[in-house]
Amino acid sequence: MSHTTLYDKIWQAHLVDEQDDGNCLLYIDRHLIHEVTSPQAFEGLRMSGRQVRVPSKTLAVADHNIPTTNRAGGVEAIEDEQSRIQIETLEKNCAEFGIDHIGMMDLRQGIVHVTGPEEGFTMPGLTIVCGDSHTSTHGAFGALAHGIGTSEVEHVLATQTLAQRKAKNFRVNVVGDAPDYITAKDIALAVIGEIGTAGGTGYVLEYAGPAIEALTMEGRMTLCNMSIEAGARAGLIAPDEKTFEYLKDRPRAPKGADWEAAVAYWQTLRSDSDAVFDREITIDAANLPPLVTWGTSPQDVISINGRVPDPAAIDNEARRKATERALAYMGLEADMPVQSIEIDRVFIGSCTNSRIEDLRAAAKVIEGKKVSDRVNAMVVPGSGLVKKQAEEEGLDKVFLDAGFEWRDPGCSMCLAMNADKLSPQERCASTSNRNFEGRQGREGRTHLVSPAMAAAAAIRGHFVDIRDF
């Protein structure tokens, strides 16, 4: 094949059937499941008397509403009855259908999009799905990975395939040398700010260019993770030596001769030099400022040195109304400087920014300093393995000494299903991915930032330019 993109290649390699009307059946190599979007799928299987076609291609881990404190008593001691039932239901369903399940007390337990890569369950060239929109994370490895609904979870369990129509190709070129303070999070926010939350709808994004090659695997996961915030179900980055280095010797990665064969194949996974993209944009990472969201959509992005927008200056009526609503919800005045916005909470965590590199970046900023009196700050590592590594490096001490809480792994306050949530009107600098109304708690106010920017805001009590910190 020539003129083809990375997405085209992975798609073609998984095509089981293609109808004349363009509806296709795609083979699914890996399926991740968690407690919130799977119970109804298993119930559906039971009601129709169906089995799981290939149990070994599914991996389960509870993350969404698992507690991040007081876990010593195990699952049966979880106070919230509905949460406990959901987590127990996942365990029971996995036992009944023969699916590998990483339990809450297992060191490897974590957010499904942190655990999957750590296990080597995620690999280049595979198709990966999960009943969670942030499955796009795994595209960092050059895997075609996207979120699905619960009916589709059931479909994958029963058939190991997914009914799909092919998406279009969209290349995001990120050029220039990103300065130290510009992280993958800033690049992600810049992309979403540029194309909007629906800009990627119907496309698979491929991130390419020198600034992408320069990113670590953690950074690439952060970037691909937020593809869905630009409307794209999947984001992709061509695998390279960093990818192979990350995967080598992971528990589920191929070994010996299989490893050599796999690497040889993975090296072919890149868009052809003459590949045709339906849409392309270019962003210069060298000129990006640290970014913050001011509103209730991830596209509401501004520079740390910017000002909150003024709805009066917006011509489009729907946009102006949305901006007015967002400002009212966020409790902000038009035209106020971003750095004057005071915060009450800081959340460092989520499938976007809870990996070791994120925790190191935040710890570096706060070392030897104290969290502002007005701020309650917490760190929720992405997995037990991240937590352990951070503790081996002494990062937990840095956080605790500064006044941060140091929690057990889970999705936590990214979506506030468990006890970790904002109170009404509380304002949070968050390393998560969504600033929607009510996302982190009813009437809570979320500003999306990188880990270093969140950490700096925790110390000062308001947003600050990390370059001046």
Binding site: D29, Q40, T159, R233, A318
Partner: protein
């Protein structure tokens, strides 16, 4: 799944862009292990105060719209989380059709799996239907999936596009998994070959 052919229903206007699935069904209701019963929680934080009382201004709390079956909304409807609880909640409330200038991909797919018809139309057409919906007072739109038309109260018919395969699945009330299992031999053959690969 209930078969979808033709129906007349009250249309509720939700004149907002970027309505996300967190708005459609907030996270505290995702703890259920069932599909049913979520209609009581649809748009919960826009519909009810923390004490459970109704917020009078919200469209679904107005007497004209309590029996709505069609939702007319702004651009990028259903963005954000993949939660299928969003279409489950809409369906359980009584909605069978959502009309907007554009939809987020995952939500759009999830609708078809549950017998909800999402219709994407040019902004100008949505604007007409939005103004019809805002009339209230029992104003209905008529949806004909077979003919792919929406008939306005003034008799004007607006045509819409729908994927022929998905259209057929809705009309026949077909089960996706059942359809795929008819292709089991192809899946078997593909899988046998794929399982030989070192990088599978």
């Amino acid at each position: 799944m209930e078969k979808f052919t033709t129906f007349e229903g009250i249309a509720a206007p939700l004149d907002m862009i970027n309505v996300d699935t967190d708005m459609i069904v907030p996270k505290q209701f995702l703890k259920t292990i069932k599909r049913s019963g979520l209609g009581a929680n649809v748009f919960d934080e826009m519909r009810f105060r923390p004490d459970g009382s109704e917020i009078e201004d919200f469209v679904l709390n107005q007497s004209d719209y309590r029996q709505s079956q069609i939702l007319v909304a702004g651009d990028n409807f259903g963005c954000g989380s993949s939660r299928e609880h969003a279409p489950w909640a809409l369906l359980d409330f009584g909605f069978r059709c959502v009309i907007a200038p554009s939809f987020a991909d995952i939500f759009f797919n999830n609708c078809f799996k549950n017998g909800i018809l999402p219709i994407a139309l040019p902004q100008a057409e949505v604007d007409k239907l939005m103004s019809d919906a805002k009339q209230g007072n029992g104003t209905v739109l008529s949806i004909n999936l077979e003919a792919q038309t929406i008939t306005r109260p003034n008799g004007e018919a607006i045509a819409f596009d729908v994927d022929p395969f998905r259209k057929n699945c809705l009309i026949e009330g077909l089960d996706d998994i059942g359809l795929t299992l008819k292709k089991s031999e192809k899946i078997d053959a593909f899988e046998a070959e794929r399982n030989q690969l070192a990088w599978r």
